[in-house]
C-alpha cells in the first residue's frame, strides 16, 4: 500500500472476528479478490512473501484448514514449516509458552495455530512477536473460516447487509458458529441459529443472533444456510439421543430447503456427514457452494498473510 492509501487492517494478529470492524472485514475481503485471481492462473505463484517464514503449529488434526494455509503461503512464495503435536517436543509435554518461545527464536514472521483449547491463540499472541493467526481454538473462534464464508456470500450476492443467514447444528461447541455470528452480524446480516437446546449456549441473543429450536421455522426466507458438522461424541456426553433423531430434526433435505429463499446458498465448513446434517443430493446440488468455500479459503488466507506481514509496503530494496 503506497502513501496516501489508508491501510484499513492494522492488527498484529487475527485471533477472532469479535474485535474486528466491518470496515476491516471489507478491506480483507477486497484484498482477497486479486488473490483469487492469482490462484486461477496456470502458474499460481507470486513473490510477495519471498524470504518470509510461516509456521503452521497444529495441535489438532486438520486436513482442510492446514492444507489451505500451506497452499496460501506457497502461492505467496513464503517459506513454511509444519509443527504438529504428535511429532514434536509438544508430544514430550512442552508447554505452549515454551513452544512459543522456541518459535520466536526460530524467527517466524507468522504463526498459524490450531489448538483444542479456547484462548490458546491469545496466549501465543502475547508471547511471540510474530503475527498469530487463529486457525481454530477450542470452541472460541475460527476467524478465517468465517472470512471465507463471508467472501463466498459476498461474491455470490454482491452484498451481505440485509441477508438472512442461518447456522444449524452444534452451536455450543462450534468455533465456526461464533466467528460467523460476529462476522455476518457486523456486516449487517440477520443471523439465526438453530439446534437442540442442549447444543445452544446461553446468552447467545446478546451477540445479536436469534435462536430457534425448530429447523422449519428457522429456514423460512433465509438467504444462506450454514450446516455444522455434528460429532458423535456429543451423543456419548448425553447432549442428544443419537444421530438418527438428530438427522430427523436437524438434517437439511430437499423439503426443508424449499422453505428458504429460492436462491438460497447452502454452506458447510466440512467435513460433511452425508445423510446426517445434510442429505447427499443437497450437498451435491445446485444450492451448495461447499467446494467454492474451499477455493475461497485459500484466497482469503493469502490476503490475510499479505496484510499481517505488512501489506506489501516493504520492498526488496528496503533490506
Amino acid at each position: 500500500m503506497g502513501g496516501g492509501i489508508l491501510i484499513l487492517f492494522k492488527h498484529k494478529d487475527l485471533l477472532g472476528l469479535k474485535d474486528i470492524t466491518a470496515a476491516e472485514i471489507n478491506f480483507l475481503l477486497d484484498t482477497a479478490v486479486p488473490m483469487k485471481e492469482i490462484i486461477s492462473r496456470p502458474i499460481k505463484k507470486v513473490p510477495t512473501l519471498r524470504g518470509r517464514t510461516v509456521v503452521n503449529l497444529f495441535y489438532e488434526n486438520s486436513t482442510r484448514t492446514r492444507g489451505s494455509f500451506e497452499l496460501a503461503a506457497k502461492h505467496l512464495s513464503a517459506d513454511s514449516i509444519n509443527i504438529s503435536s504428535s511429532s514434536s517436543s509438544v508430544a514430550k509435554g512442552e508447554s505452549l509458552y515454551d513452544t512459543a518461545r522456541t518459535i520466536q527464536s526460530l524467527g517466524a514472521d507468522v504463526v498459524i495455530l490450531r489448538h483444542p483449547m479456547a484462548g490458546a491463540a491469545q496466549l501465543l499472541a502475547g508471547t511471540v512477536e510474530a503475527a498469530v493467526i487463529n486457525a481454530g481454538d477450542g470452541a472460541h473462534e475460527h476467524p478465517t473460516q468465517a472470512l471465507l464464508d463471508l467472501f463466498t456470500v459476498r461474491e455470490r450476492r454482491g452484498e451481505i447487509a440485509g441477508l438472512r443467514v442461518l447456522i444449524v447444528g452444534d452451536i455450543l461447541h462450534s468455533r465456526v458458529a461464533r466467528s460467523d455470528i460476529w462476522g455476518f452480524t457486523k456486516m449487517g446480516a440477520e443471523v439465526r441459529v438453530c439446534g437442540p437446546p442442549t447444543l445452544v449456549p446461553p446468552g447467545l441473543e446478546e451477540t445479536g443472533a436469534r435462536v430457534y429450536y425448530n429447523l422449519e421455522e428457522a429456514l423460512v426466507d433465509v438467504d444462506v444456510v450454514i450446516m455444522l458438522r455434528i460429532q458423535k461424541e456429543r451423543q456419548q456426553q448425553g447432549l442428544f439421543p443419537g444421530l438418527r433423531e438428530y438427522a430427523r430434526l436437524y438434517g437439511l433435505n430437499r423439503e426443508r430447503l424449499a422453505l428458504a429463499r429460492k436462491d438460497a446458498l447452502v454452506m458447510h465448513p466440512g467435513p460433511v456427514n452425508r445423510g446426517v446434517e445434510i442429505a447427499s443430493d443437497i450437498a451435491d446440488g445446485p444450492a451448495a457452494v461447499i467446494e467454492e468455500q474451499v477455493t475461497n479459503g485459500v484466497a482469503v488466507r493469502m490476503a490475510l498473510l499479505y496484510l499481517l506481514t505488512g501489506g506489501g509496503d516493504r520492498h526488496e530494496n528496503d533490506y
Partner: protein, 422 residues
C-alpha cells in the same frame, strides 16, 4: 512486654463497643489500664481502627506437598501483611490432612514460623475421596478446628449425612464446598454470556445451589451445623437466608472476589480470575452483597489459593482454580463494602474476626480484658494500588493487580507481639 495503642477507634463486636479509647497489652494479653513507663511501647492510633485480630477461616497453605505454591511460613507472612492474626487452613495438601500426624505437622510448622495462629481443618473423608470417614475425633484432639473436603465436595449425600451426625459429638462444624460434580462437569468458568463468547465450558449456578440445598436439608434433618463455604450465587444466598429464617444451624461465608468481580474479569482468558466457585454474574455479586448486609452471610473468608506463575501461564482450561486473597482482603472489604455503606466498620470487623472465631470454636475475635492480645490496626483512609510483586506470600495469582484499594491494615499484633507494621 507492654504496649498501649492510643486514641484509636476501638471496635469490639462481641460487646458492640465502638468508641475512641486506648487498648492496653501486657504479657501477650489485653489488660486493664496501666501507666506507661520506659519499657512500654506507645502506639499512636488516632484516625485508625483498632480491631480484634482478624481470622480468615478459609485458606490454602499448600504445605505439605505443594511448597512451590506456598509454605506455612510464607502463608503466615501473607496473613500478617493482610492484617490476619489467625488462619484456618484447608486439608487438600499432599498427603491430605486426614489424620492426626498431618494436623500435628501443620501445628509444628506453624510454631516454627512463629508468625500467626494456624488452625488446621481436617478432611471429612479419608484422602478426601468422599468415601470412608476420616478419624475426626483423633484429629480434633490433635488440634483440628473444623472438617471439610474442600475442593473435592462430598458428592455422596449419605456420607455427608453420617459425617454431620458424627460431628455432633465433637462440637465441630463441617465446612461444605458446595459443588455438584455432575452439574459442574468439567466447567472452567461461570456459565453465561462470557463463557459462550469465550468458548469455555460453563459451570451453571445450579452446580452450587443443588448442593447448598442438599446440605441445608441434611442440617435440618440431623440438627447438625453446616457451614457453606464461599457462596457465589444469588440462589445460594436465598437458600441460606430461608434456612436461617427457619432457625436451622446453617452459616455461610463469602470471599472478596465474589462480592467484587463478575465473570467479565475472565475475558481475555485471564487465568488469575479462574477460581472455583467461579466469578458469577452481576445479579449474583449484588445478592452476595445484600446477603452480607442483612446478615445472611456472617463471615468473610478469602479462599486464599496460591499457585505458581508457571501453573497459571497456560491455556485457560489447563490452569488450576484459585487466587490469592490474604493480602487484598481488608482493602477490598473497606473499598467495596465499608466505604460504600454496605457494612458499618463494626459489622465488617465482626465478619472478619468474631464470627469466624465463634464458628471455629476458638478463643479469639474479641478485645475483652484477659484475652489474647491478637489485634489488627486498620487505616480506613490509606490508599494503595495492588502490586503482586510486593506480596509476602508466594502466589502472584490475583485478578486485583493494579486495582486501587482504600482502607488497609497497618499493624498486626499476635499475642502482644507486632508481627507486621507498615
Amino acid at each position: 512486654m507492654k504496649m498501649i495503642i492510643r486514641g484509636g477507634r476501638v471496635l469490639d463486636p462481641a460487646s458492640g463497643r465502638d468508641e475512641t479509647a486506648d487498648v492496653y497489652i501486657r504479657d501477650g494479653l489485653v489488660s486493664g489500664p496501666f501507666k506507661a513507663d520506659k519499657t512500654t511501647r506507645v502506639i499512636d492510633a488516632s484516625g485508625k481502627i483498632v480491631a480484634p485480630g482478624l481470622v480468615d477461616m478459609h485458606v490454602h497453605l499448600r504445605e505439605p506437598g505443594y511448597e512451590a505454591k506456598e509454605t506455612i511460613a510464607t502463608g503466615a507472612a501473607a496473613a500478617v501483611r493482610g492484617g490476619f492474626t489467625g488462619v484456618a487452613c484447608m486439608p487438600n495438601t499432599d498427603p491430605v490432612a486426614d489424620n492426626r500426624f498431618i494436623i500435628e505437622f501443620i501445628k509444628k510448622r506453624a510454631a516454627e514460623a512463629d508468625m500467626v495462629n494456624v488452625y488446621p481443618v481436617g478432611a471429612v473423608t479419608k484422602g478426601s475421596r468422599g468415601g470412608e470417614m476420616a478419624e475426626l475425633a483423633d484429629m480434633r484432639d490433635a488440634g483440628a478446628v473444623a472438617f471439610s473436603d474442600d475442593g473435592w465436595p462430598v458428592m455422596d449425600a449419605g456420607v455427608m449425612r453420617r459425617a454431620l451426625q458424627y460431628c455432633k459429638m465433637l462440637g465441630a462444624v463441617i465446612i461444605s464446598h458446595c459443588e455438584d460434580k455432575n452439574l459442574a462437569a468439567g466447567g472452567v468458568m461461570h456459565e453465561g454470556y462470557y463463557s459462550t463468547i469465550l468458548g469455555l465450558k460453563g459451570i451453571p449456578a445450579s452446580a452450587e445451589e443443588v448442593m447448598v440445598a442438599r446440605d441445608i436439608i441434611l442440617a435440618a434433618e440431623t440438627g447438625c451445623p453446616v457451614h457453606i463455604a464461599h457462596v457465589s450465587t444469588a440462589g445460594s444466598v436465598a437458600l441460606v437466608r430461608e434456612a436461617k429464617k427457619k432457625g436451622l444451624p446453617v452459616t455461610a461465608e463469602a470471599a472478596p472476589h465474589h462480592f467484587t468481580l463478575t465473570d467479565r474479569a475472565v475475558a481475555e482468558y485471564n487465568t488469575a480470575a479462574k477460581v472455583n466457585p467461579p466469578l458469577r454474574g452481576e445479579a449474583d455479586v449484588q445478592a452476595v452483597r445484600e446477603g452480607l448486609a442483612d446478615g445472611t452471610v456472617e463471615v468473610i473468608a478469602t479462599d486464599h489459593a496460591p499457585h505458581t506463575v508457571e501453573e497459571k501461564n497456560v491455556e485457560f482450561d489447563l490452569a488450576p482454580f484459585g487466587l490469592v486473597g490474604l493480602e487484598t482482603a481488608v482493602g477490598l472489604v473497606w473499598t467495596e463494602l465499608v466505604h460504600t455503606g454496605i457494612l458499618t466498620p463494626l459489622q465488617a470487623v465482626a465478619k472478619l474476626s468474631l464470627h469466624p472465631a465463634r464458628l471455629l470454636g476458638i478463643d479469639r475475635g474479641t478485645l475483652a480484658e484477659g484475652g489474647a492480645a491478637d489485634i489488627t490496626v486498620i487505616d480506613p483512609e490509606l490508599e494503595e494500588t495492588v502490586d503482586p510483586q510486593h506480596f509476602a506470600g508466594k502466589g502472584r495469582n490475583t485478578p486485583f493487580a493494579g486495582r486501587k484499594l482504600k482502607g488497609l491494615p497497618v499493624m498486626t499484633i499476635v499475642a502482644g507481639k507486632v508481627k507486621y507494621e507498615r
